[in-house]
């Protein structure tokens, strides 16, 4: 036994050392976690280019049958997180307002592409009149959505898009490059144009997050070349994991890190909690995408200045209004704008995307005005 130990111990330590060394080497290239699609960073100043309405590139529904009540199913990426609870509340609000619309929310328990596809497939069979979705994967979900269009079901996406021809309209909460600009500008204001920061995201395969990160990377290279992007870590949509990852980043970089950015509504409050527990409020800035309810305590305690998000309730609300307009024929391909209840008139961009508006910045002044 002693012999075994004396033999295995050096083995184990040696292999640990080798592994550590071999892994340390290729890590020099900072990994941002962005996707490989082309980016289009906005101008560094506040000048805005009016988005182009473009010509309609969405899909068409065939053989839709008019009926007295429109049954709609809302399929988010997953159920059980605050963000999609809020979108679902918005859908319910619009359903109560509109005549002859019944809406239910049903989603997979985990953000799993296969479960989501199966779920939608079953709803197609059951004969709903409309489908709202937030796609876990833009390509994987496309075949089943096309099938829905062919079956005469109206399809409108929100939050996370599918391929344009697989749905009629998409409610875009905010353009990717716009979100990236807002985040980076707010971050630069807090940590300075030469500050360093790290990112906590969901997974590198989540399309929206990967897209925002790629746009942030491009915008930072263009407008804040002195800023240092330390690294990006994954934390699923899990708040304990997000907290642990944020804590490890704080411990790793110490005073060399000026800011932490959360790319999900789960990661941002968890990062704020980590900074609070490490007693570094004021020294490490936290910002990112987050719902106001989750970050209210940290804004109140002064540990966070602000966070960015669109209103997910409004997004769900708009999505059902858009769907209803498409069913009624008040929204037709080529339209430049659409009426969406209490949100007023929404603009149409990129052919078939309904723009919800600019992202909202939540801070000490306005955080109490929201409840989601």
């Amino acid at each position: 036994m002693t012999q075994t130990l004396t033999r295995t111990l050096p083995c184990l330590m040696g292999s640990a050392a080798i592994l550590a060394a071999s892994f340390a080497a290729p890590a020099q290239a900072a990994w941002t976690g962005g996707d490989d699609q082309p980016t289009s960073p906005l101008a560094c100043d506040a000048s805005t280019v009016a988005p182009d309405a473009g010509s309609y590139n969405g899909g068409t529904v065939t053989g839709a049958q008019p009926s007295d009540t429109l049954r709609v199913v809302d399929v988010p990426k997953l159920v059980g997180i605050g963000y999609f609870n809020a979108t679902s509340a918005g859908v319910a609000e619009a359903a109560a307002e509109l005549d002859g619309v019944e809406a239910t929310t049903d989603g997979p328990a985990q953000a799993n592409i296969d479960d989501q596809i199966t779920l939608i497939d079953n709803y197609i069979t059951s004969g709903v009149g409309g489908i709202l979705y937030a796609a876990n994967d833009p390509v994987a979900i496309a075949p089943v959505l096309r099938k829905a269009l062919e079956a005469g079901i109206h399809v409108v996406g929100y939050d996370s898009d599918a391929e344009p021809d697989a749905r009629q309209w998409f409610v875009n909460p905010a353009q990717f490059n716009g979100v990236a600009k807002t985040l980076m500008d707010e971050l630069a204001q807090q940590i300075g144009a030469d500050g360093s920061f790290a990112i906590v995201t969901s997974t590198f395969t989540t399309p929206n997050q990967a897209r925002w990160i790629a746009e942030m990377d491009a915008y930072q290279a263009k407008c804040y070349p002195e800023m240092e992007w330390l690294e990006t870590v994954e934390a699923q949509e899990d708040n304990i994991l997000s907290f642990n990852q944020a804590m490890t980043l704080i411990n790793k970089y110490g005073e060399d890190m000026d800011g932490l950015v959360g790319m999900t509504s789960v990661a941002t409050p968890a990062a704020a909690e980590a900074v609070t527990q490490a007693d570094l409020c004021g020294e490490v800035s936290v910002m990112g995408l987050a719902t106001p309810n989750a970050i209210r305590p940290y804004i109140k305690s002064g540990c966070m200045e602000d966070a960015v998000l669109w209103n997910p309730v409004d997004m769900g609300y708009a999505a059902l209004h858009v769907l209803k307009a498409a069913v009624d024929g008040t929204l037709e391909p080529g339209a430049a704008e659409v009426e969406a209840g209490r949100l007023g008139t929404l603009q149409i961009i990129n052919g078939s995307e309904v723009l919800l508006g600019a992202p909202t910045v939540f801070n000490a002044e306005n955080v109490d005005d929201f409840d989601f």
Partner: protein
């Protein structure tokens, strides 16, 4: 139980040798932890800073606590796939009570009791109905997971009262989770090794027929072990759910795999009959240290899971080969 047979095989042993023999596997895990601390600490000294050590040891203490119960389950030749879902449910139970205005101690005790009760059902199905534990717990996992979302509708629990947040408290300057994990590990280890009840678990796992023959009520013991494991899951929940100011109403993904892996890497044989809770707790610490170390030495997060897979295979391989050699030596 294993000690007896080994004592007979190797009569001449000094105290150091005996420690090495009895706790060989645990020492191996300790050595791996130390090696990791030394190597990564040399690359980036901040890794061994007090704050990082605190977050490594205390932020993951709940896995160690849950692994204690899992060890007992595996020692009796069972397994529990539902523990991750159970912890998710118990966290919601505890959090709901905490914000409902019930006394804080109720919110603390409830998950422990509920854990024991829910697992009593599992235990009864395993022991008396004779359905294999992997099947019962697979079903329980689905029931708990789906049930949690059905009941909560996915709403999070926020505005937890500060005095509820156990994991943020300190005892004599040490973080509460760390103190709990160490205390529970030592207590459980002593209980399993020194009391006849604890030792009977090894006999049940090693040879249930023999256990029955010497008058151990095997079925009742299995139900009780499942209940104890449920109580440990409740304790783990207290450390898990009180780290932040919100409680998520979904079950933590893959938590059961992490807990089972910790128990197994810690030296609990999946074939039952051997293994200690100390090893399981240490393995949980090793995991936490690796997770943190990978970020410190800039391992691309993409390769993280492959790395953990290799680690599991290498550790178990060492263990399997060690046991083979021991059996061969005993044979001579």
């Amino acid at each position: 139980m294993t000690d007896l047979s080994q004592d007979a095989a190797a009569p001449r042993t000094g105290p150091i040798r005996r420690i090495l023999r009895d706790y060989g596997h645990e020492l191996l895990v300790v050595a791996a932890i130390i090696a990791l601390l030394v190597v990564v600490g040399a690359i980036n000294p901040r890794f061994v800073s007090a704050r990082n050590m605190t977050s490594v040891f205390s932020g993951n203490a709940y896995i160690a606590v849950a692994a204690i119960g899992m060890t007992m389950i595996i020692v009796t030749r069972n397994i529990d796939l539902s523990v991750g879902a159970l912890i998710g449910v118990l966290a919601t139970v505890s959090g709901t009570l905490a914000v409902s205005g019930a006394p804080i101690w109720v919110a603390w005790v409830a998950p422990i009791l509920c854990g024991a009760l829910i697992n009593a059902v599992t235990g009864l199905l395993v022991a008396y109905a004779g359905i294999p534990s992997i099947v019962v717990t697979l079903g329980m996992m689905a029931i708990l997971q789906g049930g949690l979302i059905s009941v909560t509708g996915g709403a999070w629990i926020s505005d937890l009262p500060p005095e509820f947040l156990l994991a943020k408290m300190k005892v004599m300057g040490l973080p509460m989770p760390l103190v709990w994990a160490v205390a529970l590990t030592v207590l459980a280890a002593a209980w399993m090794r020194l009391t006849p009840y604890g030792r009977s678990l090894y006999l049940i796992g090693g040879n249930a027929e023999a256990a029955r023959a010497v008058g151990i009520p095997v079925r009742r013991r299995i139900v009780e072990v499942f209940m104890i494991h449920g109580a440990f899951a409740g304790l783990a929940t207290l450390l898990f759910a009180t780290q932040l100011q919100v409680i998520q109403s979904t079950t933590p993904p893959n938590l059961e795999l992490l807990i089972i892996t910790a128990a197994v890497i810690g030296g609990v044989s999946i074939l039952g009959g051997t293994g200690t809770v100390i090893g399981a707790s240490l393995a949980a610490v090793l995991f936490a240290a690796i997770g943190s170390a990978l970020i410190f030495v800039n391992v691309s997060a993409y390769w993280l899971r492959a790395f953990i897979g290799v680690l599991i295979l290498v550790t178990v391989l060492f263990d399997v080969m060690r046991r083979r050699r021991e059996t061969r030596q005993k044979g001579h």
